[in-house]
C-alpha cells in the first residue's frame, strides 16, 4: 500500500503556477528524492503528499487509496505518514520521550506499549540516554534525531523528509545522511526526500526527481541522471559542467570560438550544444584533441582544478593532484574529452539554465 501515485497534479497560488502536471509513482520501499533549486515546487509537492496543501487539480493515491482528488481530501492526521521538518519542529515544552511518544499517545496506545516502542525507536536513532532531556538541552543533530524518531515511532510506511539536514554543519550532515539511509534500508519504508543539495540526493536516493520551474526535468537513478542528463539544465544543476556550442556534421563537431573540432559519432547534425564534465577531460602536456594554454590551477588536495584557455573559450578541467607540480601557468596543454553529452541547440543557453526563485 505504501506506493505513492501522483496523477496530473497541478498547484497554483492564485495565478502563479508552482507545479504543473506532475505525474509520478513512488514504489514501495523506494527512496525517492525531489531535487531542485529553491522555489522549484519540490516542497509544495511534499506538502501536498502530506496533506498540508490541496492540489489545484489532479489526484494523489497511497497504494490504491485516493487521499487527495477533486472530491476526496484526507487531512494530514488521517494519512498515517511520518514527516521530518527542516526546522526539526521538536516541541520545546515536552521531553524527548514525550515528543517521540506523542503520535502513539494520540493513537491511545496502552502505556506499556508506548514506553516499549519509544525506547525501541530511540535505540535506533541513538538517543536512549537522552529520553528525559528537554529539547533546548540538545544539539542540532540530536534534535534532528528526535524529529526522526517521532516520525518513525508509529511505524509509518511512508516517511517524508523536508530538507532535514540543511540546518546541520557539514560533518554532521554527512554522517546523518548515511544514518538516515541505513534506517530506511533496515525498516524498508518508502521515503520521499526533499533537498536542494545534489550530493545528498546522489548519496541516498534510489531515484532522483529533478524539478525546475514547477516541471519535472528528469527522473532517474543517481548514476544515470549524472551520466545522461536529459537536458542542459539537468547537466548544469548536477555536478560541474563545461558548455560549448558548435556545428555537428561529418563525424565531428566544430566548436564555436575555438575553431577546432572534436570527434562525434552521434546522429545529430547542425547546431548543437556540447556538455562535458571537467573531471571527464584528460589533460596532457603532450597530446590530445584540443590544444590550449593553462591559465590557472588550484591545488585542492584531492584534485587539481585547472582553467584552460582554448581559443576564445575557457574550460574548467579537473585532473589528478600530482599534475599541479608538473605544470606551470602559460604551458601549452592538450585536452581529450573522455565522455561528452550532445544536445540540440534550443534558444539561448542562459535562459535554459536560469533558476526561477
Amino acid at each position: 500500500m505504501s506506493s505513492v501515485s501522483i496523477r496530473n497534479v497541478t498547484k497554483a497560488f492564485g495565478d502563479h503556477v508552482v507545479l504543473s502536471e506532475f505525474n509520478q509513482t513512488f514504489e514501495d520501499g523506494e527512496f525517492v528524492t525531489l531535487l531542485g533549486p529553491s522555489g522549484c515546487g519540490k516542497t509544495t509537492m511534499l506538502r501536498m503528499i502530506a496533506g498540508f496543501e490541496k492540489p489545484t487539480s489532479g489526484e494523489i493515491l497511497f497504494g490504491d487509496k485516493v487521499v487527495s482528488s477533486d472530491r476526496v481530501f484526507l487531512p494530514p492526521e488521517k494519512r498515517g505518514i511520518g514527516m521530518v521538518f527542516q526546522s526539526y519542529a521538536v516541541w520545546p515544552h515536552m521531553t524527548v520521550f514525550e515528543n517521540v511518544a506523542y503520535p502513539l499517545r494520540i493513537m491511545k496506545m496502552p502505556k506499556d506499549d508506548v514506553t516499549r516502542q519509544v525506547q525501541e525507536v530511540l535505540e535506533i536513532v541513538h538517543l536512549s540516554q537522552y529520553a528525559q532531556r528537554i529539547p533546548s538541552q540538545l544539539s542540532g543533530g540530536q534534535q534532528q534525531r528526535v524529529a526522526l524518531a517521532r516520525a518513525l515511532v508509529a511505524k509509518p510506511e511512508l516517511l517524508l523528509l523536508d530538507e532535514p539536514l540543511s540546518n546541520l554543519d557539514a560533518k554532521l550532515r554527512e554522517s546523518m545522511r548515511f544514518e538516515i539511509k541505513e534506517i530506511q534500508t533496515k525498516l524498508g519504508i518508502t521515503v520521499v526526500y526533499v533537498t536542494h543539495d545534489q550530493t545528498e540526493a546522489m548519496a541516498m536516493s534510489d531515484r532522483v526527481v529533478l524539478i525546475n520551474r514547477g516541471k519535472i526535468q528528469q527522473v532517474a537513478p543517481p548514476a544515470e541522471i549524472y551520466d545522461h542528463p536529459a537536458n542542459q539544465f539537468v547537466a548544469d544543476f548536477l555536478g560541474k559542467v563545461d558548455f560549448l556550442s558548435g556545428e555537428a556534421g561529418g563525424g565531428c563537431i566544430r566548436l564555436d570560438g575555438i575553431e577546432q573540432t572534436i570527434p562525434y559519432d552521434g546522429e545529430r547534425v547542425g547546431r548543437v550544444e556540447v556538455a562535458v564534465r571537467p573531471e571527464r577531460i584528460t589533460l596532457s602536456t603532450k597530446e590530445g584533441t584540443l590544444r590550449g594554454t593553462l591559465v590557472n590551477q588550484y591545488y585542492l588536495g584531492d584534485v587539481n582544478d585547472c582553467r584552460v584557455q582554448v581559443g576564445e573559450k575557457q574550460l574548467r578541467v579537473i585532473t589528478e593532484p600530482e599534475t599541479y607540480a608538473r605544470m606551470k601557468l602559460g604551458d601549452p596543454v592538450y585536452l581529450t574529452f573522455r565522455e561528452q553529452i550532445v544536445f540540440d541547440e534550443e534558444g539561448s543557453l542562459e535562459d535554459k539554465l536560469k533558476i526561477v526563485t
Binding site: 502530506a50 496533506g51 498540508f52 487531512p75 494530514p76 492526521e77 494519512r79 498515517g80 505518514i81 511520518g82 514527516m83 521538518f85 527542516q86 526546522s87 519542529a89 516541541w91 520545546p92 515544552h93 506523542y102 503520535p103 494520540i106 493513537m107 524529529a147 517521532r150 516520525a151 508509529a154 517524508l160
Partner: protein
Amino acid sequence: MRNRGKGSEILCKVTLAVLFVLGIVLILGGVWGNGQFETAGFSQENAFSLIYRLTSESDALYRKGIEPAIRQSGTDAAAMGEISRELLVSAWGGEERVSEALGETSGTARTERELKLLAATYAMGGPKIKTAQRKQLAALSAQDRGAMMTAILKTLSGDEQPLPGPAAELCEGLSGTEKTAMLMQIFLTSANMDGEPLSSDLVSELKKAARTEDMRITAYTWAVEGRMNWFAQVFCSAGKTFVLIGILLALDVLILFFWLLAERHWKLDVKWMIILLIADFLLVFQVLPTVNLVINAFFPDGRFSLSTIERLYTYDLNLSALSNTLIAASCTMVLGTVLAFPLAWLVGRTNLYGRKFFRSLFVLTYMVPPYVGAMAWLRLLNPNVGDINVALRGLFGLGDTPGPLNIYSLPGLIWVLTTFYYPYAFITISRAMEKMDPSLEEASRVSGASPLKTVARITFPIMTPSLIAGALLVFVSAASCYGIPSIIGAPGRVHTVTTRIIDYVGRGSEGMNDATGMGVFLMVLAIIILYISDFVVAKRQYITVSGKSVQPNIVDLRKWRKPITALVALFACIVILIPFATILITSFKVDLGKSLFAEGNFSFKQWTTIFSRDEMIECMKNSFVFAIITATVGIVVACTMSYLLQRTKIRGRKLPDFLITLGSGTPSVVIALSLILSMRGDFGINIYKTAYIMIIAYLIKYLMMGMRTVVSAMSQIHVSLEECSQISGASWLKTMFKITGPLIFPSIAAGWFLIFIPSFYELSMTTLLYGNGTKTIGFELYEYWTFTSQPMACAMAFAILLIVVILNFVLNKLTRGEFSI
C-alpha cells in the same frame, strides 16, 4: 608609549581624587549650612505654618468662600468660631500653630479667620461632591438647609446629630477624617450653591504657596538676615541641594574608581559618564522617591511604626478598595486573556475575513486613553439614562425603573477595564503567535492529531508563557488604572486603591502619609508581578521574540468563516464602534437626556468652544509641549541606552536598563506620589507643581516603550554593517548617521510616538502633579467631565482620539508602512 600611558593614568587618578574631594566638600558644606538654618529656628515645617499668615490668597479665599457661608448658615458666629478652632487644633496637631496662624485678631475677624483656615485645611482636596448630588442639596428648602448646616457643625464638634437625607447619604460608609472632610464639603457646598466653595485655582494656588521656594527663601532670609556672610548664606539657602550633588558626585567617583580598578585600564571613558549620568537621573528621580515612599509609610514620625499600615488596612473603606482592586484586576485579567487568545488566533492564524483590518482595530484601542472608554460606557450603561438601558427597558417593557444594567458597580468597572486592557494581552499573544514556527503544529498533524487537538496540546502549551505574560500585564495595568475607576467607581462608591490614594493626597499633608501606605501596597503588587513576568515566565519562554517572523500556516475556517467573522465584527462593534460613536454623538448634544435628533439638541457649540476657549488652548499647548519634550528627551536616552546595550560590553550598562524597566512597571499613581513626596524641597530639589516634575514622571513611566523599540531594531542590525562602513573609511559618527541611523530610523520614529502619545493624554500622574500653569488636556477633560459639562468633555475626548489616529497615520507614512501603533 609606556610613559604616556603612565601619564594618563596619573591624570585620571588625580581627576578622580579631585572630584571625590569636591563631592565630600559639598556634602559637608551642605550639611553645615542646613544645620545653621535649622538652628536659626526655621525648619521647613515651620515655614509651612507661616503660609496662612503670609499669603494674600487667604483674603480672596475668604471673600469667595467663607463670608457667604457665615452669612447664610444662620448659626451663631461665635459658636461656629469655637467649633472651627477645635477642629483646627485637632487637624493641625497642636494649639501652638493655630494660635500663631490666627495672630492678634479678635471678634468676628477672628471667627472668619478660623473658618477660613478650617476650610483651607479640609476643602483643599478630599472627596468631591458630584453635580447630581449638588442638585439634590440645592433642592432642599432654605430652612431645611439651614437646619442641616447646623446639624453638620454640631456633628463636627463632636455632638453627633442625625443628618437629613442627602447629607446622610453622602456620608454613608465614611468615618474619621474622611467623614469630617465630607461634612465640611457638604457644609460649604450648601452655603454656596453657585459653584465650588473654593475654586480649583484657589486651592492649587494655596497648595503651591505652601511649598514654593519663595516661601522657604523668605523664611531663610528672616532667619539669617544680618547674621551671616554671603558664603554661609549660599550654603544655607541651598544646603540640601549641595548635599545631594555632593553625594551623587562622590558616589559616581567611587563607582568609577572600582570599575577602573577592575578593568586595570586607567582611562576615563565617555560611555561611563553617560551611563552614570542616566543612572544618576534615575537614582534621584526614581529610586530615591520610591525608597522615600516606603520609608514614609513605615516610619511616619521618624520611628518605625506599623500604625499607618494598621490604621489603613483595618478601615472598611480601604479594605473594600483593596478587595475591589484585586477582584477587578483578576477578573479583567481572566476576561481579557480569554478574549485575547481566540482573537489573536483568529486574526493571526485563520482565514478570517478582514484579518489585517481587525488586527489594526484591536491594536488601536491600546493607544486610546482609558478614561474615554469609561466616559462612553457611562453614557451607555447609566442605570437611569444610559442608552443601552433605555433600549433594553423598551425592548422588554420594564417600565421606568432604573437598570437593568448598572455601570456604577464592580461588574461595570470590570467590564470597562476589560474592554480597554484586553489589547495588552492581544498584542503580546499575537506577537508570539506570529513568531511561532508553524511546523511545530504541522508535526502534530502528521503525528495524527486533529487541528483542535493540536491547538490544545501543542499551540496552547507553547503559547502559555506569552499568555501568562500578557495576562500579568493586564492585571497590573488594571490594578494601577486610575482613569476608569475614578469616572465609574467614584459615583458608584466602588473605590479602588488608586482612587483612594488620590483622595488621600487631596487631603493635604496628613493624607500624604495615608496615601503612601496605600501606594506601597500597589507598588509591592506591581513589583511582584514584574518579577514574575520578567524573570520567572521569561525563562520558560519557548518563543524568542526577536526572532524572524515566519509565514504562519493559515487554518481554513471553512463553513465557519462567515459566522465567526460576523462574531468578531460584532465584538469590534461593541467594544470599539459603539463607545466611540457615543462619544462623538454626545459631543454634539445640548441636553444630555434627549436624543441627538430632538428639536434644537444638535450643536457645534462644544466643538467651537474647545478650539477657542483660552483655557483649553492653554491646556492643549501644555500637553503638546510636555509630550514633545518627554518624547524627545526619552528617545535620545533610548538611543544612547540601546547603543550601550547592543554595541558595547561596557560595565554597568545593565543598571540603567534595569531601573528603566522597573520604572515602567511601577504604577503611575505611585510614581507621582513618590515624586510629590520627595521633590518639594526635602532633598534639595523643589520642582513640585512645575512642568519639570510632570515631564520627569512621564519619562520614568514611558521611557521603556521607546527604548524597547529601538533596542530590538538595533539587535536586528548586524554589527558587521557598521564595521563594514568603518572599514570603508567612515568615522564612528559618520557611520551612525549614514548606516545605523537610517536603518533604525523607523524604530526611532515609532519609539518617539510611543512615548509621545501616552504622555500627551496622561491623566493619573497629572492629577497629582499638575500646577496652576501646567494643566494638561487629559486633566482638563477629566475636570470638565466631573464638574462641568459632559458633552464638552466628549468633544475633547474625540479630539484626542482624532489626534491619536492622525499621529498613527503620520507614523505609518513616515516609516513607509513599517510601523503603526
